[in-house]
Every structure is written in C-alpha cells, then in structure tokens.
C-alpha cells in the first residue's frame, strides 16, 4: 500500500476529484489537443497568451487520475507565469517523472512533489506528462495533436 500511496498522493486524488480550471476558456489564443490513443487519455488545453505571459489557461477532457490531476496542477502553477518560466517548469517536471531530477529540494518543487512517485511506475509516466507536453507545444505555437505514447 505504501508504494501505491507514493503514486496516488492526496493532492493527486483531490485534483482528480475536483480538477481546477476544468472548463473551456473563452479568449484562448492557443488551443491544443493532447491524446494518448492507446490508453484513451484525451484533453484539450486552452492557453491565453499575452505577449510573453500566460495570463490564463484551462483544460477539458477525460482520462485517468494521474493525467487529470497532472493537468489540473499544471494549470494552477503555470497561470500568470512567463513563457520562459513555464518552459523551465516543464523541464523540471519532466526530469521529476523520469526519475532523473537531482539536487533539488522538495520545497522548491512545491505541489509538483506529489508527482515524484510516478517515476516508480514507468507505465504511468506518459499519463503524467501528457498535459505538460501539450502545454509546451502550445507555447511553441504547435498545431495538431500531442501524444506521449
């Protein structure tokens, strides 16, 4: 059970139950789809970018607890950040779930620390990463559908 608790942290379960910014965002100027066809996780990410600042973002869709909580937590962390800050956070999150993050205190990670357990579940890394990859592609002005499978 302890291993499971490392994956299904309270924060993750809570964000899965009540996802934040879970809506269509009017006025979004970057809209991108994140879709993992093998597992069926499927989200639309709405980003409102003004100059260099992500003034608002939201998401809709369906998927497992890990993918949904990850998307929800991401929206709360990225809102109001600059593009550069968002990219840095993506890099940190990526290393965190891949288990390659070194020498960073959990205080620095904040809410992201809840996803540290994902690295012990290789099959679930793609779930945790989906929204983040979608966000990064949205910032790159990418189009089409993002997949982490």
């Amino acid at each position: 059970m302890s291993d499971l608790r490392s994956l299904y942290q309270e924060i993750i379960l809570e964000h899965n139950k009540s996802p934040r910014n879970f809506k269509k965002l009017d006025g979004a100027n970057r809209i991108l789809e994140g879709f993992n066809p093998l597992c069926g996780d499927h989200y639309t990410l709405y980003v409102k970018l003004e100059g260099d600042t992500i003034v608002d973002l939201a998401f809709q869709g369906a998927g497992c607890a890990i993918s949904k909580a990850s998307a929800s937590v991401m929206t709360t962390l990225i809102k109001g950040k600059s593009v550069e800050e968002a990219r840095a956070m993506f890099a940190m999150f990526h290393e965190l779930v891949m288990g390659t993050l070194k020498d960073v205190s959990f205080d620095h990670l904040g809410k992201l620390a809840a996803f540290a357990g994902v690295s012990e579940f290789p099959a679930r890394v793609k779930c945790a990463s989906l929204a983040w990859h979608t966000m990064r592609n949205a910032l790159d002005a990418g189009t089409g559908t993002v997949s982490t499978e």
Binding site: L7, G40, C64
Partner: protein, 420 residues
C-alpha cells in the same frame, strides 16, 4: 526424438480432472511478482505456456535447428519432417479436410491480412461490400478497411445489442447481393461474447457469401471443428492457445485457396522462377514465402499434443464455473458495471467502476500481483458502443481458479480504499 517432459496423468482424459495438476504444467504460474503470488488474468492478451512447449523450443534449438524445405542434410530433413508433422497435427486439431488447407502464418493478424489482400484483390470490386461485426478486434477491421480503400468497396457493420450479441435478423438484413465476404469473430476479445458461428455461416452461405472467422480467442477455450462450422476461413494465433508467440494458422477451404493469388512472393512459395515467369508452388506452400518461424511452429506442435491430451469436457465445466463465479463476485461490488453480458460468454470479464479510470484500477491491481488488461483492447468501436473510453478486462484461461477471482475482488476493494 520426443520431448522429455511428461504431461501429468491427472490432466488427461479418462482421469479425474485436477486443475492443480494442470496449473503445475505452467511454470510461470508458480512465480511471484511485486512480492505477491502472480494472479494472471490477462489471458486474452496472451496465455501462459506449459513446460512441454518451453522444452520443445529448447530441444529444437539444441538438437534440430536447421532451415527447412531445402537442405539435403540430416538436420534439415529432420526439421522439415518435424515442421510438416505440425501441419498434420493442425489439420487434425481443426478437423480440416486436408493439410493443404493449413497455411502457417505469424498469427491471426497476418492470416486476416492474407485473406483481405489475396481473396480481396481477386474478388472485391468497387461498389461491393465487406461485412464485419461491431465487436471486432482492430485486426479484423483495418485489413478490410485497407481493402475497401483500394478497391472502392464499402465496409458495413453488423450492429450488436446492449448485451453484446449479434442478432440474426440484423445479420440477414445486411448480407446483401453486393456482399463479397463476412469477417466475424468467434469469441469477442473485449466482451467475451461467443458468436453462433455455425448458424451465421449457414445464413451467409444461403446467400452465397463466404465467411472468415477470427478464432484468436476461441481456440484457448474450446475445440474447433472447421468442417462442422463450415466456415471458409479460420484464423488463429498460437500464443493465445498456450503456444509460442509469432506463429499462427490460416485455415481455408481448398477450392478457395487454390483460386487465390499468392500473398507474398519469395523463396519456398515457388516451383520455378525465370525473369519472364514464375510458377507458384502448390498449396499450402504457395502462401508461405520465405523461411518460416520454424522453432515456434515445432513448439506449436507440442502445444497441440498438450491440448489434445486434455479432458475438454471437464475443462469446459471448470471454465464455466470460474467465469460464472467471477461474474457474480465482481458484479456484486457496488459501482461496478459489467461491459458485455451476452448469454453465451467465454473467458472474458470486462468492467468499469464508478468514475475510476481503468488505468488507475490496473495499476493498483498490479501492486497486488494481479495482471489484468486495461484500455480499449484493440476494439475501440466496442468501447464507443458502450460509451466508455476503456475497460478493465479480467480474462481467464483453463488454469485459472476461484481463489484468483477472490484475489481480484480483494484488489478491487483496495482500489475503492485508495479512491475512497
């Protein structure tokens, strides 16, 4: 030279059936995963292999390894004879009329692609129709879609009812004058539905339409008699019936196969080659280009011997008991909805629970040593039919037992604890 490993008497016909003796034939069932005793309930994805099959693979590479159908040396002759003996065993296993009707392939997927490419190229034209059912695996949809795109034919779908069954009236309505072939699964991998193949074949034949049966899921659970079913093609995979991966069989009626063009060109499938003209080999070799999967084919022969020795009457009673028990136990858990409630079912219990995603359920069960499949099971149209993105699928084989169902139920309770 025969294998050293003996099949225990207690699993054989004319003996009192013992599922524990049967389980003892499968070494992996004694394993632990994540510190828990393995509970393997992903048999629709692939079944485990008995010791006799593993030993035969080992024996082949140690004592027999050689290319077949070409060498004049001792090993090649031995290997060729062993490989061709498997064809005779397969003919017997399926009760085909002739060994010419037994084509060796990589698996069910290749078997269906072979028929779609070869039979399809010859018979399906623009405006024609290919009929599949709403419960097909992607491997019995996509090859036909490709054929339809190339030929201008239409893919039509027999709908399934809420229980996950094909209704004969719908079937009759859809088999029309332009239908060139019906491709249908024997047992659904996502729902467990056992289709009334014999009756459907009869209805199709009354309208002059041949039928391909996807037997991938069926052969693990029941004996198949292709002459009794009267189907025109029957496709199966060794690895879903306790044999090695990478090997399978296409059964086809001789007159149909004879008229069909080759699927792939290469060595082994020719009689003579010049740059002007190639004469193809006779059946079955016409459809077997290149060096085949000799080792797994020979080990498939050991699989057939193993299956042949079993007491299928007792196994059928045992399997029905375990699936019935699982259905009763799992469906009584609050919040669980069973997907696929056909009156005739085998091997599969697919379900969803509350608003907990199947992947989360799968991960938690895995921590308990329980292997299930989660996802769309390569049957996305089935998921769409029931309005779910995915299901949890517990799938059973001959060797599963009630106590494993109990472990599954405890695992599901744990999922509920985690998600409150």
């Amino acid at each position: 030279m025969s294998t050293q490993v003996q099949i225990p008497e207690a699993v054989k016909r004319n003996n009192k059936f013992s599922v524990e003796a049967l389980r003892a034939c499968f070494p992996i069932l004694q394993e632990s995963v994540r510190g828990k005793k393995l509970v393997y309930l992903d048999n629709a994805a692939t079944t485990q292999k008995p010791e006799v099959v593993i030993a035969e693979l080992d024996r082949y590479y140690r004592h027999l390894n050689s290319n077949i159908h070409r060498g004049v040396h001792f090993l090649s002759e031995e290997a060729t004879a062993a490989y061709e003996r498997v064809r005779l065993k397969t003919r017997e296993f399926l009760n085909a009329a002739s060994e010419k009707e037994i084509i060796f392939v990589r698996g069910t997927t290749e078997a269906i692609n072979l028929v779609a490419a070869s039979f399809g190229r010859m018979n399906v034209r623009s405006g024609d129709e290919v009929l599949v059912s709403g419960m097909e695996h992607h491997s019995n949809i996509v090859p036909w879609q490709l054929l339809c795109e190339q030929s201008g034919a239409r893919l039509k779908v027999i709908p399934i009812n809420d229980r996950g069954e094909i209704e004969a009236e719908e079937f009759i309505r859809l088999v029309g004058p332009r239908t060139k072939i019906v491709a249908i699964t024997h047992i659904s991998n996502a729902l467990g539905t056992v289709n009334p193949i014999k009756n459907l074949v009869r209805l199709a034949h009354e309208r002059g339409v041949p039928v391909l049966v996807d037997g991938a899921q069926a052969v693990a659970h029941q004996r198949v008699d292709v002459q009794d079913l009267d189907c025109d093609f029957y496709a199966l995979s060794s690895h879903k019936m306790y044999g090695p991966t990478g090997f399978g069989v296409l059964y086809g009626k001789e007159d149909l196969l004879k008229a069909m063009p080759p699927y792939q060109g290469g060595g082994d499938m020719i009689r003579s080659v010049t740059f002007e003209k190639t004469q193809f080999a006779d059946l079955p070799h016409k459809f077997e280009a290149g060096t085949p999967n000799i080792a797994d084919g020979i080990a498939f022969g050991a699989t057939l011997d193993f299956l042949h020795s079993l007491d299928w009457d007792a196994l059928s009673v045992h399997e029905d008991d375990v699936l019935g028990y699982a259905t009763e136990q799992v469906s009584s858990i609050p919040g669980v909805r069973i997907i696929g409630t056909a009156r005739e079912k085998a091997g599969v219990l697919s379900f969803v629970m509350d608003d907990i995603h199947p992947h989360d359920i799968g991960t938690i069960l895995d921590q308990e040593g329980i292997a299930v499949r989660t996802g769309h099971h390569c049957a996305q149209p089935v998921m769409a039919r029931y309005g779910v993105p995915a299901t949890v699928r517990a799938s059973f084989a001959l060797y599963n037992i009630r106590s494993e169902v109990d472990a599954l139920v405890r695992g599901i309770q744990k999922v509920k604890e985690v998600f409150h």
